[in-house]
Every structure is written in structure tokens, then in C-alpha cells.
């Protein structure tokens, strides 16, 4: 009886465990045997094929390469691309040479001034035979002067038709292979990489110079409307951050009505402006559908700040005058011709821009004074002293010794520019000394001599006197500001009400806007800029009135950097007053630049303990404090 009960319980236990086993084990076995059903909601990716290893490659060795056939020809007779429609063989030598068709008959004042501006530029050549690009200005239809087919047309090959304003003349001839530069080209007619898209210019756009950007404050301001919409008939409507954006379900039907809306005629004070091309009425729809507001709200203030600065830079570098627009167009075409030696993107997109950073100087951003930070590099620690010896022609022995004593001096160049014969003996110096026999022209002082091997140049006049520690300290300052001029003697410009023009003074004042190049540090790139980018007329002006050359150099550097020069302590103590430049010089230069780039500064950079009441022993540049 007992044993039976025992056996019964044993069987019970056994069968129970079997049941458990079948239930649990079978379930997992089932799961192993059958392919798992994807659980709903779980992401199911591309399957891992069991036989993925056996798959064949898309290209079998042996299939490639094929036999080459003749080059593919353009399928569309009329369409052009750079290779097929532009003949670069005429463009050898130094850069783009442009011939402009002279105007026929009576032309408008604007037209005449634009022609004059191109003729004065570095691109211009007077012979159509030597030109690589022939430029046809297609300006205003109002005068009724529609250009007829030019002489050297040749189906438009190597031609650029420049349309600054819309409403061009009715076409009297086929454009053919000519490039077209115009505002708002249509997608259908625009040939990327061949035509050039221009900004839409108002009639009254300044020819030269142009006003700087209008943005007064770069950092985003709280409480200013985020977005302004362009409306029909030229009005503006502002949309605020508070407005609710509708969910992005494609076609939002209800009108979300951007928060406060107000109509105004002038450009509103808003962070972003929405411009919707030809159809302003599409703007509000666009706003609803794309949730522009939401996207803009997400944007970090840092990015807004960067964008705002970039708008100002682009405006100032390429858009603010007709001349800049034309030069930018020519520069774009020149970059296509240059190929590998074209401007790198960095030069186009960061200050001072491609018009002022010449690709003929270098294509490597590190060679320019503007991009050390972006490149993660520093200006090198040596400089070349360039001593100009004009009349009366005394070899500047003392000056050479003082400069050669600087630990940063790499070489000394003496530019002998007077009628006296070259002395045969020069003092022994620790650094190499080279004598260049100049052409007796003042503009020689800023010629990019290939013998200059350092980035920094210390430009000196034989009559200046400097001490070694003045040179050392000023060079250290230059290393912190490699794009600016660091000088010792200063002068300033001012607006002379009495004469209605600019005046010049070398008096000691609380401000200055120029440093004299008779003793100044600057980057060697400015020599290239001086020689190759200035209109010829300005260089001639400098040669004719030698004292003007200082002003001119300061104009160039200020126009490029948009910053004033820097004054370092020192320079000749009881100095002979430098001869003032010809009174009209500054006005002529300002007219040629189209604006006044000079800026005033109230700073002088001194050594940290300069003239402080501490022990002389603690000071590094003691001799600077001697009167």
C-alpha cells in the first residue's frame, strides 16, 4: 500500500516535470526551429543573407576596363560647357586680359563710367588680339542703344555678355558660345560652370566704393522680430517667435497667422528675412509648410552671429558697388582659367575676400597675413629689413647695425635708389646683406622682390633712426597683428570743412590713422597688392609725388583689413618733421578708392611695464623709456 502510494507520487512528480519540460522546452525549441516572426513595432532592417559571402561583385575583373572610344560630344547643339566653348589657349601669361568693346554712339553716363572703371582695372588690355576675354556691355535699353553684332564675335567664342540690369535689348544676334552674366537667370537657360549669376542691382547702385553693411549690432538681440516676410507690392510683414507653427503634415490648411503682423514699407528690424523670389505671395504658404520659424528658432545664437557677420562680409567684399560686381565676375572667370592655381574656397569666403587676396601671389592660405588662425599656424619669427636709400645717398651704416642686432632679423636688403654710384664696401653684419639697384622710382619701395624670403618686412628709410630694442618690441607686436601695419611715426587724416576735402596732418595728436612707411612692419603680401592690384594711375601718382606713397600704402592696408594701423613706442626722438605729402594727394587717392578706408586709432601698444613705477630691473625693454 505504502509502496504503491510512493510509486504514485513518483509518477505524479515525473509526469508533472515532463509536462513542464514539454511546455517550456518545446516552446523554445519551436522558436529555434521556426524563423522568428518580427515583433510588431520593432525595427526590421535589411536581412543578413545566409549566403551573402557567395554574392558576386558588381564589376567582375576583366569586365573593366573597356575599350575607350572617342570623346562624347555635346548632345545639344546649343548648349555649352567650359571645356567645349572656351578657348583657354589665348589666356597664357599673367592672368585674365579683357578687352571691352567701346561704346558706339551716345551712351549714358553710367555706361561711360563703367567702361572707364574696367579700362582702369588690372584686367584691361587695349588690343582685342591679345585679349583672352572679350566683354560686351549690355546695359540699358532706355537709351535705345542696342548693341549690334561686334566685329570679333566669332560665334561668341571667348565672349562675356554682361547684363547688369534686366530688360535687355531684344536679341539682335545669337548668343551662341558667349558666356552670359546676368541677374536671376532661369534654371533652363543657365549653364552651370559657364554662365555667371549676378546679384540684382538697383539703378542707383554706387559705381565704386560703396557703403559698408548696415548691420549695427552683430550679436543677436533679444526681443527683435525673428522673421520678416516679403509681401506683394514690396511691403514687409514680421512674424514673431511666439506664433504657433502648424504640424508638419504636408498641406497645412488653417491659417496659423504669424503672431503679431505689421505691415511696413522699409526693410524691417528682424533677424531673418524671407525672400521668395518671383512670387511673394508664396512666402506665407512656404512659411506654413516648411516651418521656417521652427527651424530658425532652433538655431543657436552663435550660428546667428556667424551668419550675420558673413552677410556683412559678403556685401562689402562682392556686392556693394558695380565695380565690385564686375570685378567679381571677372575673377570667377579667371579662376576657371587658372584651374589649379585658382583661389581656394577659404579665400573666397572669409575676409578680405578673393578680390583682395590675389591668387597670383599664392594659392596657399598660409602665405597670406589673414588666415593664420584658420590654418592653425603662426607668422614666422623672422623679418627682412628693406632699407630704401634715396637721395642724397648716404649708406645708412648706423641703421644697418641697429637692425642687424635684432634677434629676429633674417636678412637686410638695401634698395639703392639714387644717382650716386653703389658703395663697394658694406659693414659686416651677422645676417646676409643684399644690395638691390633700383629704378629710381618711389614705387620700387613696394615691389615684391623675390629676394625677400620672410613674411614680415621692416620697411625703412635710410634717414630713420631706430634702436634694436624698439625693433624687437615692434616685431613682437606685429606677430600678434600680422595683417596690420605696425609703425613708429604716425599721421592722421581729417575732413577739412574749409576746403571741402580731406586733409593730412603729422602733428602729434590723440589719434592717428596712418603710420609712416619710413619705419614700419608689415606683411610682404602688401608689396604684391601694391604692385599688381592698384590701378596704374595711382602708382604713377606715387612716383610723381614721392611723399604720397605713404598715404597710398596706408590706404591699401586699411581697405583690406578695415582696421587702423598700430603704433609702437619709439622712433626717432627729436625727429626731423617728415615732409607733408602734396595736399591733393589724399583726395586723389580717396577718389580712386571711391571711399575713405582710413580709420583712426587712439591706441599705442607699449611693453607691459612701460613707464610704471617699478624697478628698472624687472623691465625687459628698458631703453624704450629713455627720452
Amino acid at each position: 500500500m505504502q509502496s504503491w502510494r510512493r510509486r504514485k507520487s513518483l509518477w505524479l512528480a515525473l509526469s508533472a516535470s515532463w509536462l513542464l519540460l514539454v511546455l517550456l522546452g518545446g516552446f523554445s525549441l519551436l522558436r529555434l526551429a521556426l524563423p522568428p516572426r518580427p515583433r510588431p513595432g520593432a525595427s526590421q532592417g535589411w536581412p543578413r543573407w545566409l549566403d551573402a559571402e557567395l554574392l558576386q561583385s558588381f564589376s567582375q575583373p576583366g569586365e573593366l576596363p573597356e575599350d575607350a572610344v572617342s570623346p562624347p560630344q555635346a548632345p545639344h547643339g546649343g548648349s555649352c560647357n567650359w571645356e567645349s566653348c572656351f578657348d583657354t589657349s589665348k589666356c597664357r601669361g599673367d592672368g585674365l586680359k579683357v578687352f571691352v568693346y567701346p561704346a558706339v554712339g551716345t551712351i549714358s553716363e553710367t555706361h561711360r563710367r563703367i567702361l572707364a572703371s574696367i579700362e582702369g582695372s588690372r584686367f584691361y588690355t587695349f588690343s582685342p588680339a591679345g585679349a583672352c576675354l572679350l566683354l560686351l556691355l549690355s546695359l540699358d535699353a532706355q537709351t535705345g542703344e542696342c548693341s549690334s553684332m561686334p566685329l570679333q564675335w566669332n560665334r561668341g567664342r571667348n565672349h562675356l555678355v554682361l547684363r547688369l540690369h534686366p530688360a535687355p535689348c531684344p536679341r539682335t544676334f545669337q548668343l551662341g558660345q558667349a558666356m552670359v552674366a546676368e541677374a536671376s537667370p532661369t534654371v533652363d537657360s543657365f549653364r552651370p560652370g559657364f554662365d555667371v549669376a549676378l546679384p540684382f542691382l538697383p539703378e542707383a547702385h554706387p559705381l565704386r566704393g560703396g557703403a559698408p553693411g548696415q548691420l549695427r549690432q552683430h550679436s543677436p538681440q533679444p526681443g527683435v522680430a525673428l522673421l520678416a516676410l516679403e509681401e506683394e507690392r514690396g511691403g514687409w510683414r514680421t512674424a514673431d517667435t511666439g506664433s504657433s507653427a502648424c504640424p508638419w503634415d504636408g498641406r497645412c490648411e488653417q491659417d496659423p497667422g504669424p503672431g503679431q503682423t505689421q505691415r511696413q514699407e522699409t526693410l524691417p528690424n528682424a533677424t531673418f528675412c524671407l525672400i521668395s523670389g518671383h512670387r511673394p505671395e508664396a512666402a506665407s504658404r512656404f512659411l506654413q509648410a516648411l516651418q521656417v520659424l521652427a527651424a530658425l528658432q532652433e538655431m543657436s545664437p552663435a550660428r546667428v552671429l556667424a551668419l550675420r557677420q558673413q552677410t556683412q562680409f559678403l556685401w562689402d567684399a562682392y556686392f556693394s558697388s558695380v565695380e565690385k560686381v564686375i570685378h567679381t565676375t571677372l575673377e570667377v572667370i579667371q579662376d576657371r582659367i587658372f584651374g589649379t592655381s585658382a583661389h581656394p574656397s577659404l579665400l573666397w569666403n572669409s575676409p578680405p575676400g578673393a578680390l583682395l587676396a590675389l591668387s597670383t601671389f599664392s594659392t596657399s592660405p598660409q602665405d597670406f597675413p589673414f588666415y593664420y588662425l584658420q590654418q592653425g599656424s603662426r607668422p614666422e619669427g623672422r623679418f627682412s629689413a628693406l632699407i630704401w636709400v634715396g637721395p642724397p645717398g648716404q649708406p645708412p651704416l648706423k641703421l644697418i647695425q641697429a637692425v642687424a642686432g635684432s634677434q629676429h632679423c633674417a636678412q637686410i636688403l638695401v634698395l639703392w635708389s639714387n644717382e650716386r654710384p653703389l658703395p663697394s664696401r658694406w659693414p659686416e653684419t651677422a645676417v646676409p646683406l643684399t644690395v638691390i639697384d633700383g629704378h629710381r622710382k618711389v614705387s620700387d619701395r613696394f615691389y615684391p622682390y623675390s629676394t625677400i624670403r620672410t613674411d614680415a618686412i621692416l620697411s625703412l628709410d635710410a634717414r630713420s633712426s631706430l634702436s634694436t630694442s624698439e625693433v624687437d618690441f615692434a616685431f613682437l607686436v606685429w606677430q600678434s597683428f600680422p595683417e596690420r601695419m605696425v609703425g613708429f611715426l604716425t599721421s592722421s587724416h581729417f575732413w577739412d570743412e574749409a576746403h571741402g576735402g580731406w586733409g593730412y596732418t603729422a602733428e602729434r595728436t590723440n589719434e592717428f590713422s596712418m603710420v609712416l612707411t619710413t619705419a614700419a612692419f608689415y606683411h610682404r603680401y602688401y608689396h604684391t597688392l601694391f604692385t599688381h592690384s592698384l590701378p596704374k594711375a595711382l602708382r604713377t601718382l606715387a612716383d610723381e609725388a614721392p611723399t604720397c606713397v605713404d598715404v597710398l600704402m596706408n590706404f591699401i592696408v586699411a581697405a583690406v583689413t578695415k582696421l587702423p594701423p598700430i603704433k609702437a613706442p619709439g622712433g626717432p626722438g627729436p625727429r626731423p618733421k617728415p615732409p607733408a605729402p602734396a595736399p591733393d594727394c589724399i583726395n586723389q587717392i580717396a577718389a580712386a578708392f571711391g571711399h575713405m578706408p582710413l580709420l583712426s586709432s587712439r591706441l599705442r601698444l607699449d611693453p607691459v611695464l612701460f613707464k610704471d613705477p617699478v624697478s628698472v630691473q624687472r623691465k625687459k625693454y628698458r631703453s624704450l623709456e629713455k627720452p
Partner: protein, 670 residues
């Protein structure tokens, strides 16, 4: 003893009654049950981790098992590719509306095998590369398996190589995809377009509005801003491991490694070799290789045998010539070797040229100038060549190396078009990591003289020293350029004085109360700051004469709170010190420039402070500040501070000059 007896009595009482057979039977049964239970238990509880991983979830199937779809001969064919398509005309952005975080979602159609009426297959089901490509998309953030929420659709029909498919039938297969809708928002990948004899430069399969990511586009077939130009993948990349070779001069100046070139081109190249001797090397197929040697991996010049692609590392420039097709896989090999490609293929759209700046990594020479190649290349300065070599290798690593890299770059480009405001910048696409780390992009990059009219905002941080505070306020308010005064009241236990008690000044005065006593509160970007220039001062300073100003920028205030690595802010708040050093670090780090010291002031007078009260006086304070510097340097990873030896003074400062003619005569008078 007793127990054993009991056992002896009981045990035999049960066991002997069973037969030996039964005993074995029971024992086996028990052990099986026990083992089974243990195994099940393990299965139940152990494999959870495996289950949650992807492998478990993904189908494990053979490609032979994919469903077969029969295409009737008269099923519809899409229109030919529409050459006028642009994103705004042929792409439906509204379908991307469900995608959060500015990221498009991509759906991949399930793999099917297509056969015609006679059961003959339309194409190879799928190639190894296309399988990899779809796998890469499926593993990426772009993937979605919800067809209704997808913005972009990728068919699993493999069109990488046009030669392996039947054009009409493939097009029919496309047309019957469930969301085809004239090909809108569909993306096709093709690397080898065209076929003999005329080799079109884009896929010949009619595809209507579908986007094409193609290798070998020409300017005639490429729809700018719509199609994506991709590289022709080189399978060698996966097989060969070429270690990176640093930039610098190499044995050969110019090398041509392609086989099967057009005889005219080969003549031109050989003429170059004759003219320039050793520095030019023109390689060809090997004719006399022994059996078993892979001819793909060898190149010959006369009887000399070279290993390919290793030989590419011996050359500075490598020619990439057009074959029958414009896109050549050799471009990928050349980049991998860090050899600068010289692309001679007129009208070729270089891979990813929408975002990659090929000027930095290659030289493009028109075909008609082939005989001048050598002189063109020689005019490039050595420094630029080295930058190009580095850039070439970086392009390969980032965008050519694998099918995955190609697929993700393609999707990123399309993503950037749909969310242009969140697009990746030029620098991120093009700058090699070394440049990205080494360079500083100054957030205030525009040369700018702060506008005079705007003035500056003064921020005074105070705890409770009211008397001193009022004196500071009175003094600062005398400065003409001041436009607003902001007092940061850092004491939570005490209310700021009544409005009427504050000194009367000519500019708006605003008191901000803080939630916690933190020194970092000084650098919070308060909405009240409306000017770009900010003057930060302590309340324990009997201010400078009103001529003396110290400027920071509002922008840095913003950075201090939001961009400062977290550790530092906490550290400052904990130690009640060094917030000024942290600010200096930050400014130096973001601008890459040194700060400017203005005026000769070294000490600020503080009449109320005792040695305990004024934080900056005793010796331990200096020790702590050195600690700060070490700590901050380790958090920033570098030492961004720069040492300069200059200080800004007014032009005529301490010059031998009549004082009354100077602009700021009061400087240094206290």
C-alpha cells in the same frame, strides 16, 4: 547506528521490489527530466541578452528563397529620365515632414527576384556591393521600416552595373514598386552606366523622376542639384591595406597605371615618358605573367613588373584618364595611395562635387592639354602638392573607402538639400581632422570697430557691500560711453535696497537677482544686455577714473554659460574663485588670440575689504589660482592662453607733452 539500521530496513523495503530494469529506467527518466528542466531554465533566462540584439531580430534567409515576381511583357514602363528635374520640381519634400531632428528617413523595398513571362530572370538578384550598400543604409540613422513615414525610397533592384541587367524589364520592375509614383523620391545607385558602343554617361534604364546617384556623370547628363555624383567603388580597397604614406616627394613625378587606354592617349603618355625620362612612368597590362598570378594586381613597364596598387604610392601625381566611361575605379585607388589624381576626362562630374572641393585634392586638365600636363604640374608649388596629397588620402578615408562611406555621403548630401539650414558646412566636408583640430575659427571674424553710438553695458556683481557698490555705480556712470548698468545681486538672503536709495544716474539701472550665490552669474548672458561691449567689475573696487575701460564681449558671456565645458563651471562655483581665469581661457580658446591689457593699472583700491574679505589678497589665494590654471588647461585639453608683451595705452600716454592736450589725462592718476 540506529539510523543506518532504519535505512537498511527501509531502503531494501522499496528497492528490491523493483526489477533492476525498472531501476535503470527510473534513473534515466529522472536525469532526462532534470537535464531538460535545467536546459529549459537556461533557455528561458539566459538568452534574453541575445534576443534583444539585432541579430536575433533580423531575418536569416538565403537569397535563393526570395519571392519571385513575374513581370508581364506589357507591364508599364516609366518615362525616360527627366533632364529638367530639380529638387523643387520633382522632389516631394512634404513626405519628409514626419522626420524629426532634421534627418530624412529612408525606406528600402524588400528584395525580390524578377522574371519575365518565360521565367528568365531580369538581372542578377543582387551584387555583393549593393547588398552592402543596403545593409549600410539599414544600419544607419536614416533607416525606417515604415513605408508611410519614409521620405526617400531605395529599391532593392540592383542597377549598380548596367551591363548585368535587361533595361526594359528592369524599368518595368521599378514601375510596379508600391510607392513608385513616377519615381518621385526614389533613389537609384549606379556606378557603371551605359553600354557599348556609345556608353551613355548615365544609367539607361528609364526612371522618370527618380534621383540617380551615379558614377561617371558628364555635364550633359548630370542634373545639377538633383542627381548625386558618386565614385566608382574599387573592390581593391577592401582587399589591399595600403598604410598611409606621409606627404612629400616620391620616386616618380607622374604615373599612369590604367590598362586598356585608348591608343591615342597611350601615345601621348609615352611621348611624355620619352621627353621627361625617369620621372614619368607609364604602366600597362602584363602579358607574360605565370599562371595563378592575379593580373589585376600587377602592372608592367616593358619587362619590369610592379605590384598594383602599391606602385601608386611611389608617385606624386597619378593620371586618371577617361575610358569608355568617364568614372574610373582607379580614382579611388589613386586617392587611397595618397597620390594626387590628375583627372583628364572632359566634362566629367567628379564624385560628390556638390560638397567636396576637388581643387584641394586633384588637378583637372583638359584633354586637349594632355601634352602640357608635365609643365602644368611642375608649376604647382611643393607646399600645395603636399596639402593635396594629404587631402587626397583624407577624401578616400572619409568618402571612398567603403560602400558604406559612399552610401552615407550620398544620403547626407540629399539630407543637406532638404534641410539646408541644418546642412553640414564646407569645412566639415572638406577639412581633414588635423586641420579641424588645429585651427581656430574666431566667432568674431569680421574686422570691426565697435560702434561709438552704442556704448557698453557695465555689469557689477555684488553680494551685500552696498556702500562700496553705490560708490562704484556713481563712478562708472560718469563714463560717457556707458549705456546701461546691470547689478547682479548675488545674495539670496537679503533684498536689494529700496529703489529710492540707489544713486541717481543718467543711464538705466537694472538689478538682477540670482537664485544662487555663484561667481559664474557675472557671465550669464542676461537679456538686459543690449550692447556688444560689456564691462565686468567687482563691487569692491573704487573704480578707476572714468577714463579707464575694460571691454569684453557679450558674446563671451553667452559662451561662458552655454559652451563652457561643464566641469569648469562647477569648479568655479564650488571654489568661489577663478571665474575670471576661466573667462580668459574661454576667450583665448575661441578666438585664438591673446587678451589685451588696457591702462597701467595693477591694483584696485578697496577701502572696505579686510584681508579675509577681499578674496584676492592673501597668499593661499594665489596658490589656489595656480591650481585653477592647471585644472582648466586639462579640461580644455590644451593651453589656449597666449603670452604677449604689450599693453594698450593712449597714444600720448606719459609722453613729454602738455597734459591738457591729451585725451585721457586721468589714466594712472589714482
Amino acid at each position: 547506528m540506529c539510523a543506518s539500521v532504519k535505512y537498511n530496513i527501509r531502503g531494501p523495503a522499496l528497492i528490491p521490489r523493483m526489477k533492476t530494469k525498472h531501476r535503470i529506467y527510473y534513473i534515466t527518466l529522472f536525469s532526462i527530466v532534470l537535464l531538460g528542466l535545467i536546459a529549459t531554465g537556461m533557455f528561458q533566462f539566459w538568452p534574453h541578452s541575445i534576443e534583444s540584439s539585432n541579430d536575433w531580430n533580423v531575418e536569416k534567409r538565403s537569397i535563393r528563397d526570395v519571392p519571385v515576381v513575374r513581370l508581364p511583357a506589357d507591364s508599364p514602363i516609366p518615362e525616360r529620365g527627366d533632364l529638367s528635374c530639380r529638387m523643387h520640381t520633382c522632389f516631394d519634400v512634404y513626405r519628409c515632414g514626419f522626420n524629426p531632428k532634421n534627418k530624412i528617413k529612408v525606406y528600402i523595398y524588400a528584395l525580390k527576384k524578377y522574371v519575365d513571362d518565360f521565367g528568365v530572370s531580369v538581372s542578377n538578384t543582387i551584387s555583393r556591393e549593393y547588398n552592402e550598400l543596403l545593409m549600410a543604409i539599414s544600419d544607419s540613422d536614416y533607416y525606417t521600416d515604415d513605408i508611410n513615414r519614409a521620405c526617400l525610397f531605395v529599391p532593392s533592384i540592383d542597377v549598380l552595373n548596367q551591363n548585368t541587367l535587361r533595361i526594359k524589364e528592369t524599368a518595368q520592375a521599378m514601375a510596379q514598386l508600391s510607392r513608385w509614383d513616377r519615381g518621385t523620391n526614389h533613389l537609384l545607385f549606379n556606378m557603371l552606366p551605359g553600354g557599348p558602343p556609345d556608353y551613355n554617361t548615365a544609367l539607361d534604364v528609364p526612371r522618370d523622376r527618380a534621383l540617380l546617384a551615379g558614377g561617371g556623370f558628364s555635364t550633359w547628363t548630370y542634373r545639377q542639384g538633383y542627381d548625386v555624383s558618386i565614385p566608382v567603388y574599387s573592390p581593391l580597397s577592401a582587399e589591399v591595406d595600403l598604410p598611409e604614406k606621409g606627404p612629400g616627394p616620391r620616386q616618380y613625378f607622374l604615373l599612369s597605371s590604367q590598362v586598356g587606354l585608348h591608343p591615342e592617349y597611350r601615345e601621348d603618355l609615352e611621348a611624355l615618358q620619352v621627353k621627361h625620362g625617369e620621372s614619368v612612368l607609364v604602366l600597362d597590362k602584363c602579358t607574360n605573367l605565370s599562371e595563378g598570378v592575379l593580373s589585376v594586381r600587377k602592372r608592367c613597364h616593358k619587362h619590369q613588373v610592379f605590384d598594383y596598387p602599391q606602385v601608386l604610392q611611389e608617385a606624386t601625381f597619378c593620371v586618371v584618364l577617361r575610358g569608355a566611361r568617364l568614372g574610373q575605379a582607379v580614382l579611388s585607388d589613386v586617392l587611397q595611395a595618397g597620390c594626387v589624381p590628375v583627372v583628364i576626362a572632359d566634362s566629367y562630374i567628379l564624385p560628390f562635387s556638390e560638397v567636396l572641393d576637388w581643387k584641394r585634392a586633384s588637378v583637372v586638365v583638359p584633354e586637349e592639354k594632355m601634352s602640357d600636363v608635365y609643365s602644368i604640374l611642375q608649376s604647382i608649388p611643393q607646399r600645395q602638392i603636399e596639402e593635396m596629397q594629404r587631402q587626397a588620402r583624407w577624401f578616400w578615408e572619409a568618402y571612398f573607402q567603403s560602400i558604406k562611406a559612399i552610401a552615407l555621403a550620398t544620403l547626407q548630401i540629399i539630407n543637406d538639400r532638404i534641410y539646408p539650414y541644418a546642412a553640414i558646412s564646407y569645412e566639415e566636408w572638406n577639412d581633414p581632422p588635423a586641420v579641424k583640430w588645429g585651427s581656430v575659427s574666431n566667432p568674431l571674424f569680421l574686422p570691426l570697430i565697435p560702434p561709438q553710438s552704442q556704448g557698453f553695458t557695465a555689469i557689477v556683481l555684488t553680494y551685500d557691500r552696498v556702500e562700496s557698490l553705490f560708490r562704484v555705480i556713481t563712478e562708472v556712470s560718469k563714463v560717457p560711453s556707458l549705456s546701461k548698468l546691470l547689478v547682479v545681486w548675488n545674495n539670496q538672503n537679503k533684498n536689494p535696497p529700496e529703489d529710492s536709495l540707489w544713486p541717481k544716474i543718467r543711464v538705466p539701472l537694472k538689478v538682477v537677482r540670482t537664485a544662487e550665490n555663484k561667481l559664474s552669474n557675472r557671465f550669464f548672458p542676461y537679456d538686459e544686455i543690449e550692447t556688444e561691449a560689456v564691462l565686468a567689475i567687482d563691487d569692491d573696487i573704487i573704480m578707476l577714473t572714468s577714463d579707464e575701460l575694460q571691454f569684453g564681449y557679450e558674446y563671451f558671456n553667452y559662451l561662458y554659460t552655454y559652451k563652457m565645458p561643464g566641469d569648469i563651471k562647477n569648479w568655479v562655483d564650488a571654489h568661489m574663485n577663478c571665474e575670471d581665469i576661466a573667462m580668459n581661457f574661454l576667450v583665448a580658446n575661441v578666438t585664438g588670440k591673446a587678451v589685451i591689457k588696457v591702462t597701467p593699472r595693477k591694483k584696485f583700491k578697496c577701502p572696505e575689504c579686510t584681508a579675509i574679505d577681499g578674496l584676492s589678497l592673501d597668499q593661499t589665494h594665489m596658490v589656489e589660482r595656480s591650481e585653477c590654471i592647471n585644472k582648466f588647461a586639462s579640461v580644455f585639453g590644451t593651453m589656449p592662453l597666449k603670452v604677449v608683451e604689450h599693453r594698450a595705452d593712449p597714444v600720448l600716454y606719459k609722453d613729454d607733452f602738455p597734459e591738457k592736450l591729451k585725451s585721457f589725462p586721468n589714466i594712472g592718476s589714482l
